[in-house]
Symmetry: none
Subunit: 235 residues, 2 copies
């Protein structure tokens, strides 16, 4: 088993960038490219893909982010703007490419890397679907990298971390876990205005921890017991 890396470009605006991304994917031995509502892909995209035209041409095109991340066990979103709103869980904490690599080392499963539009990146809603947030540490004066440069750096790091042994928990089981946590927050009368933020925090913490299947089951066992406990004492 190995770590499969899927590159997802969300609404890329410039075909040259898409071609460049295909090229650098092939340079590092990756080929699973998904494009969500991309710009037109014509001669310039092919030219920039150079000898990776096969990666460009076999890219899967989807109309929604949900379709693009289907089947991925871990979703990592890239952002160039970090720490702007320190009060939110949305963009925090943020990991650099090397830290992401260290976290994924020895894992197996499918990791989807999400990169947003060249001008506005990923929307807040798109970032909310992510288990981890990635940002490339750069100069404060001009921190926004070209899209394909950012991907080149991330794939350079990840090409190192590929042969994995620990299977990641399945996305489906993680979803049940998240729903279960939401249920418990409901049970304990958690303040509604804080609920979404706290759920997002749980998603992020558990995403960063890269749970294995047995851990998901044990966590759900603890939650069931907490709930049973409420019930028992109610009666």
């Amino acid at each position: 088993m190995v770590l499969d890396v899927r590159v997802v470009l969300v609404e890329p605006l410039y075909q040259g960038n898409v071609g460049s991304v295909a090229r650098v994917m092939k340079n590092f031995g990756f080929s699973d490219l998904v494009l969500v509502n991309p710009c037109k892909l014509e001669g310039e995209a092919r030219a920039m893909s150079s000898h990776a035209r096969n990666v460009l041409e076999s890219a899967r095109i989807t109309g929604s982010l949900a379709g693009a991340i289907e089947g991925a066990d871990l979703v990592i979103g890239a952002t160039g703007i970090t720490g702007l709103r320190q009060d939110e869980h949305l963009r925090l904490p943020v990991y650099g490419p090397r830290e992401i690599k260290d976290k994924l080392k020895g894992m197996s499963g499918t990791v989807a890397l999400l990169f947003g539009r060249e001008d506005h990146g990923l929307t807040n809603d798109e970032l909310k679907t992510c288990d981890m947030i990635l940002s490339i540490p750069a100069s404060a004066e001009y921190p926004i990298l070209n899209l394909s440069h950012a991907i080149a750096i991330v794939l350079y790091e990840l090409s190192d971390a590929r042969a994995g042994g620990n299977p990641l928990a399945e996305q489906f089981d993680l979803k049940l876990l998240h729903e279960h946590i939401a249920e418990v927050l409901e049970d304990i009368g958690y303040p509604p205005h804080k609920k979404d933020k706290t759920l997002l925090m749980f998603k992020r913490i558990l995403g960063r921890a890269q749970l294995i299947p047995r851990e998901v089951q044990t966590l759900r066992g603890v939650l069931r017991r907490i709930q049973r406990n409420f019930g028992k004492r109610y009666k």
Copy 2:
């Protein structure tokens, strides 16, 4: 004293690449760009440099490699084709970007990074002027990176920019969190023979997630609420 990094492009063929290189230099806080007999630099170069037009416009243009590396304390040449002629010292030994970084750590002075033409790289004579040879480990199937991608990766390694650093939670607060979890397991009558294992699992999961201080506080808030809930219903 710090390490000054100079990027030298030897006879670049495509102005878009030169602009892209200027951009990624600024992204990582570098600005010393030297061009040896470059192609024409016009609108496309400026467009690709984006907000790094100042780096592009202040690039020094020379007619010879000797002029470009003048004043440099160490000259490192990049090559995409390694090991083709294992009998020669010319391209051997070769270092990856991370190894170069490790070797330069703690050094001060000026390092010139030489990158050759997009089609034929550096000539043998040019490689002979280099103190070290750099190559980016890539897929054997297609090892030749786009010029600006290669430079992005090398500068990423060489930059010590530390944007997006997350302060870790203090060990003391983590200990309180673990004790709090143990307390809740006690409250819910968790089976004693499973308790140690489950506590260890929590420790591992939270350890892997590298919590930030605010997350520890939010988690403890959830636990307090769970406990209050037991209490309320007890009475």
